[in-house]
Amino acid sequence: MPDIAPDLAIDVRGLTKSYGKLKVVNAVDIRMPRGQVWGFLGPNGSGKTTTIRMLCGLLKPDAGDGTCLGYDILKQSREIKNQVGYMTQKFSYWEDLSIRENLEFVANLYDLKNKKQIVDKTLETLGLSSRQKQLAGTLSGGWKQRLALAACTLHNPKMLMLDEPTAGVDPQARRDFWDQIHRLSSEGMTVLVSTHYMDEAERCDQIAYIAYGNLMAQGRVEDIIDRSGLYTFVAEGTGVRDLMESLRSQPGADHVAYFGNALHVSGGDLEALKRLVAAHQVSGIKWRQERPNLEDVFIHLMRQSKDNSVAV
């Protein structure tokens, strides 16, 4: 198959997957350039994992086609598996094997040369040389995640697909993990990470947002915010929390959220929002318009998608 766009790591069209009547992924197109770090965002059960699994050949799509690293995702899953490192959401290395045994197993499955050296070096980089005989099952969550990352990059893949790698990991470990990802990226690796964390999304070159199986937005964080057509007003002051309930039911306020000691009121209709704000001028509360943040935009997109899927 001719490689039409050699600069694209992922180039898929109309990717669709259903379980029974439920359409988990609905006609998703992704064109992801090589060498970038992409964040894959979306609520739970939105089809992120299913999409990743289809991209690396673990699931057969019901419809759609395309390439991953230039290989046909329908026919060349072996080639894809050889060049992709996939880190599952749940720790899936062997808990009853030691750290070293797990790495050796992976090295053997990929038929790597200089296995011993690679494993030794990986253990050293991980800082696990002294604990190499410890069973993987006895590691803490953060360490398991580091081991998993080391194991899935052992064969020096061209592309990494990480499925919620930082779920349930403490902030320090999360930061270390992202340092690793950027280090790998600077070495030329293409990385696709699914996550729920907004701060992680902002560390990505681009993000793709999927909700209820539909790809809702794709691009740079700034662009997605700009294109969202969303306006946000922020209210600060004593007693803003009491405004929440009354604002929620008002026309124009698509969603209202309280964070950072402030009330964020967002909506797609600027005039309606302005009228709303004018009607809620209370003494002691200061209103100002702000650029919506990513979370506002995502919640907005999620509502839109839900409305669409209900309409369908």
Partner: protein, 375 residues
């Protein structure tokens, strides 16, 4: 009473979970039905219609009555005649016949003279319980068969001591030691149990613990995974075989007459057949628990219908048909044949090819069912 409410809550939850686990529910219903059918209809410790061959060096009206008498007794099923004593032995060795009745030359003449001629019955006693009732009945059957012919001037012969001297050769296990039959058979039972269970659980464990997704994401082909997972257990099977055979020889004193190589072939095929079953189960079972249940579901009819616990020939035809499907049935014949009867390859071939077919089918099903994706 709040205790009752809490018990009620747990009870309800238990019922809901029971209903969700369809396989367990199905097995809870099917198991008793299967056992009722097996014990109620299939098993019979008084086997009749045992295949019998005749070697006739004398043909007369008296011999024909004898033949009719044997047939009518319902214990013996006359399958035909052999042309030499050697052919009779071969038939016993291969298990084709359970009895060979030899009527020697001059039988009728000697009978009518009152010389009490010999009637030779060779019985396959490798399974002592299978042959015992028929053997016990033989005296009575001959006497009542001959009474029709011993009339008039010969009537006196029917009165006194038995007119025929019945010589019974209990072949392969003359003393009727039940260990001779059970210990080699046990090898098959142990292998069935462990091989099926161990493979099905080993594979299901990967799925249950989430390792499968990882294994599939790496470039291993289905048959590579299958081979890699099965080969270690072939080793386990060989160790088990060695233990049982050593115990059989040195502890139980079971004879080993045949070829070790032929037995090794049988054991090898049998192990592979069971591993293929285990692998197939692992592609269906969603948890280790289910894999275990499916193993028992296979194991129970295997030991019931194979002739391990109850004489194979005592079962009705339909049960024998089902029994023929299980590799254990054929393996038992091979292991008993080789050890107790010294059977050769030709005699065992009728039990080897069914195992080959079983392996081919089970492996094909396993490969078809094995998913190289998570679908």
């Amino acid at each position: 009473m709040s205790a009752w409410r809490r018990i009620g809550a747990i009870l309800t939850k238990e019922f809901i979970q029971m209903r969700r686990d369809r396989l367990t529910s199905a097995i809870m219903i099917i198991m008793p039905i299967m056992q009722l059918i097996l014990f109620g209809f299939a098993i019979n410790s008084d086997p009749r219609h045992l295949p019998t061959l005749l070697y006739l060096e004398d043909r007369s009206a008296v011999v024909r009555s004898l033949k009719a008498g044997l047939q009518n007794s319902s214990y013996f099923d006359i399958k035909g005649e052999v042309q030499s004593a050697d052919a009779g032995t071969k038939a016993l060795q291969s298990g084709e016949a359970a009895f060979v009745v030899t009527v020697p030359a001059g039988f009728t003449r000697n009978l009518l003279r009152g010389d009490h001629p010999q009637l030779l019955i060779e019985a396959d006693a490798s399974d002592p319980s299978a042959a015992s009732n028929a053997v016990a009945m033989i005296q009575q059957i001959t006497a009542s068969a001959l009474i029709q012919d011993l009339k008039g001037e010969w009537a006196a012969l029917a009165q006194g001591p038995p007119p025929v001297d019945i010589v019974i050769h209990r072949m392969y296990n003359p003393e009727g030691i039940s260990q001779y039959n059970i210990v080699p058979g046990l090898l098959g039972v142990i292998l069935t149990m462990t091989m099926v269970m161990i493979t099905s659980i080993a594979m299901t464990r990967e799925t249950e613990r989430g390792n499968m997704e990882n294994l599939l994401a790496m470039p291993a082909r289905p048959w590579e995974v299958m081979a890699g997972k099965i080969i270690p257990y072939i080793g386990v099977g060989i160790v088990q075989t060695a233990i049982v055979l050593l115990a059989s020889t040195f502890v139980f004193g079971v004879p080993f007459l045949g070829s070790v190589w032929l037995l090794s072939l049988g054991v090898g095929l049998f192990i592979i057949a069971n591993l293929a079953v285990g692998f197939t189960f692992s592609t269906v079972a969603r948890s280790q628990m289910q894999a275990m249940q499916m193993t028992f579901f296979f194991f129970l009819p295997s030991i019931m219908l194979s002739g391990f616990m109850f004489p194979f020939r005592g079962m009705p035809a339909w049960a024998q048909w089902i029994g023929q499907v299980f590799p254990l049935t054929h393996f038992l014949r091979v292991v008993r044949g080789v050890m107790l009867k010294g059977s050769d390859f030709a005699a065992m071939w009728p039990n080897i090819w069914p195992m080959l077919i079983f392996i081919a089918v089970a492996t094909a099903v396993a490969m078809l069912r094995y998913r190289s994706t998570l679908d």
